[in-house]
């Protein structure tokens, strides 16, 4: 069954090449997304065996991630159908196929239980997403794709070197070098510590590049700025999540080896640094899509910060993973609608979004309040959990810096967002033929409702799953 989840999107992706009509082809996306979501629900809720040989399998951690990714992709795929149909003259054959292949590779990366297989899968995610960035086929999107591939490949190369170091630390420990995660965790106490530390640094930097942590984030503003909004949502919620999952797996190995203090301090430092860099670039940001990219850098920082703090912070971080991904769905898709309507992503050209596009404009504004941690939305709850964990651990400096940075981001982001939302729409925007439609608005409304729901009430099954996953990472079942 786990294998089926990977194969369905790949097969549909192949089918995309066979469909001739530019208008019918996008239907494959919601079909693939729905099939994947149904399959995932069956796997997660049913009693089907949760392994597929030794290579693929589910554990408490990737169960949460798999469910979240499947939902995210489904909602984006509904939007994608509306988006592609609204641009009938832009060829979408490669785009549709790549999007489905991307889903297949994401699923493989989540389910992989082997160090090497996971690495191959994450590299394939990068490759299959490169054509998505190049959808508009202009010099700017080309530049973004070039940076994305080059920086991403270097990151993934470092991750491979880190994997070799980890394998070497097992070899040096005199163990059979099995690179299945469960064996690595099981035998972790015997790993050679100097090699393990070197491995963690490389793996963290390598997969951190994919996550977009500062200072390895430089591909992100370009990629998110130039790609269609739905690709931004999928990268910010999907690709980064898979890279974060990889980091968590290595953190777990360090926990099991009782050598975790060093990893923690590294994560706290990089986490705060990412937030600081994002805050600096978000103040007076004139491009609202690049602003969202920096917001993604900030929230990746919050994720690793939560893990670095530990205790309740790990639970908070996992919850924030979901909250951030869903809120980014709201923001990127709403920003994409505004971009379609105004034909520009510069603040100078865009104003009065809430008059010209009442629904999209309101959703964009609500998404802004959600992502900056205003109650009653989900991110408030998860950020508050991380803050409380920092205070409980006696790390007042970390807690203080965290709060300051959140405040700066709020102020910086609000200037850009209000400039977009308020005021009088330009004549060009009034003349634009773009209208909100079911396909381009309904997914955003669902995203926002989920963010709101998670803010007021975390359903007990989800809460249980997250607590189990947190205990799994910290190795205290």
């Amino acid at each position: 069954m786990l294998l089926v989840l990977i194969l369905i999107p790949l097969l549909l992706g192949g089918l995309a090449f066979a469909v001739r009509s530019n208008l019918k082809r996008p239907w494959l996306l919601p079909i693939g997304g729905a099939a994947h979501l149904i399959g995932t629900s069956v796997v997660l809720l049913g009693n089907a065996p949760a392994t597929e040989g030794a290579w693929l399998g589910l554990d408490p951690l990737n169960k949460v991630v798999l469910g979240f990714l499947s939902l995210l992709f489904f909602l984006c795929s509904v939007y994608a159908r509306g988006y592609l149909v609204s641009r009938p003259n832009q060829p979408n054959r490669v785009f549709t196929a790549s999007l489905l292949a991307f889903l297949g590779m994401l699923t493989l990366a989540v389910e992989a239980q082997h160090l090497g297989l996971m690495w191959v899968a994450i590299e394939s995610c990068t490759l299959s997403s490169a054509p998505l960035l190049y959808f508009n086929q202009n010099p700017r999107s080309l530049e973004a794709t070039w940076k994305y591939l080059l920086i991403g490949s270097v990151g993934i190369a470092l991750a491979l070197l880190g994997s070799y170091f980890l394998a070497y630390s097992a070899l040096h420990g005199g163990m059979s070098t099995s690179l299945f995660f469960r064996d690595l965790v099981h035998e972790a106490p015997h790993l050679s510590h100097p090699w393990l530390r070197a491995a963690f640094i490389l793996l963290f930097v390598g997969y951190g590049t994919k996550m977009g942590l500062a200072p390895m984030h430089t591909w992100k503003p370009d990629a998110y700025g130039e790609a269609p909004g739905l690709v931004g949502a999928l990268l910010a919620g999907g690709l980064t999540t898979v890279a974060f999952l990889a980091v968590l797996r290595f953190f777990q190995i360090c926990s099991a080896a009782h050598d975790v203090a060093f990893a923690r301090s590294m994560m706290v430092t990089i986490g705060l640094f990412s937030m600081a860099v994002a805050a600096v670039f978000m103040v007076r940001q004139r491009d609202y899509k690049r602003m969202l990219a920096y917001s993604s850098v900030e929230h990746m920082g919050i994720l690793v910060l939560g893990i670095g703090i530990g205790g309740a912070g790990i639970f908070g971080s996992l919850l924030h993973l979901i909250n951030n991904g869903l809120t980014k769905g709201v923001l990127f898709l709403a920003a994409a609608n505004i971009h379609r309507c105004y034909g520009s992503k510069r603040v100078e050209d865009v104003s009065g979004a809430i008059r010209r596009l009442p629904i999209t404009g309101a959703l964009f504004l609500a998404g802004f309040f959600a992502i900056t941690g205003s109650p009653p939305f989900g991110p408030f709850f998860s950020e508050f959990t991380i803050l409380r964990a920092a205070v409980a651990a006696g790390r007042f400096w970390v807690a203080g810096l965290f709060l300051v940075m959140l405040f700066v981001v709020f102020v910086g982001m609000s200037a850009t967002v209000f400039a977009v939302v308020q005021g009088e729409p330009s004549a060009k925007a009034k003349a634009s033929s773009y209208k909100d439609s079911f396909f381009t608005v309904a997914p955003i409304i669902v995203f926002l409702s989920l963010v709101l729901l998670l803010g007021v009430y975390v359903p007990p099954p989800l809460s249980r799953a997250l607590h189990t996953a947190a205990a799994f990472i910290e190795m205290n079942p």
């Binding site: 690495w119 490169a130 070039w146 070197l161 690179l179």
Partner: protein, 213 residues
């Protein structure tokens, strides 16, 4: 065969320095290709005893790293009619010095690491680090897109050398994955290179600077 490992790695290290000091793109590409072929031969030398699987890996390594990718890059520079790296961000001589320093540092650093007993005194680990360092230097200091791809290839070569320390213990799946990924990665980069050329009629990444703060 095993006593060839040291001399071969020394040649790889010499090519590193050559790569750092040369401006002619064709020479740089050929140097990285030769490194690829050397790595293929190294695989056979590190592996004691003969097996069909090993020979297969060797052949695939030589084909991909030594023939296929360099061939693509050579074609790209011929089509775009570019010959030299004109003005790197850091000059060739400082780069060469940095490379030499890095090689020395990796030799010293590798001694401080705890090595498995079969690798004590072997050049594999320091050569891997030095080559990774060289790749980084080329990648970050050169302006031409082609040179950046070569830098990435050298980086991957270094990682491959590190992989050789695990040859006995690690399943070959991963090794094959490495080659495949390398191929696909460069393949996609090759396509992108073509697009860059068509859009900007040159392969200089200085043109790729519209996006910044």
């Amino acid at each position: 065969m095993h006593n060839l490992v040291g001399p071969l790695l020394v040649v790889v290290l010499l090519f590193n320095l050559f790569l750092l000091g040369t401006s002619r793109l064709q020479a740089v590409i050929n140097a990285s290709a030769t490194q690829g072929v050397l790595l293929g031969i190294l695989t056979l030398c590190v592996h004691e005893g003969f097996s069909t699987w090993m020979v297969l890996i060797t052949i695939v390594t030589i084909l991909v790293k030594g023939v296929l990718i360099p061939g693509m890059l050579l074609r790209a520079i011929r089509d775009a009619a570019i010959r030299r790296e004109i003005e790197p961000f850091i000059g060739f001589l400082p780069c060469l010095l940095l490379g030499a320093l890095g090689t020395g540092a990796s030799l010293i650093f590798a001694r401080t690491l705890p090595l498995a007993k079969e690798h004590v005194g072997s050049l594999l680990v320091p050569a891997a680090m030095a080559t990774v360092w060289t790749g980084f230097l080329v990648l970050t200091t050169r302006r031409k897109a082609i040179n950046q791809v070569v830098g990435y290839l050298v980086l991957e070569n270094g990682i491959y050398i590190m992989g050789l320390t695990l040859l006995h213990a690690m399943p070959f799946m991963v090794e094959m994955g490495v080659l495949l990924d390398l191929f696909v990665g460069i393949f996609v980069m090759g396509i992108i290179l073509n697009h860059i050329r068509r859009e900007f009629s040159s392969l200089d990444t200085a043109h790729l600077s519209a996006l910044k703060e």
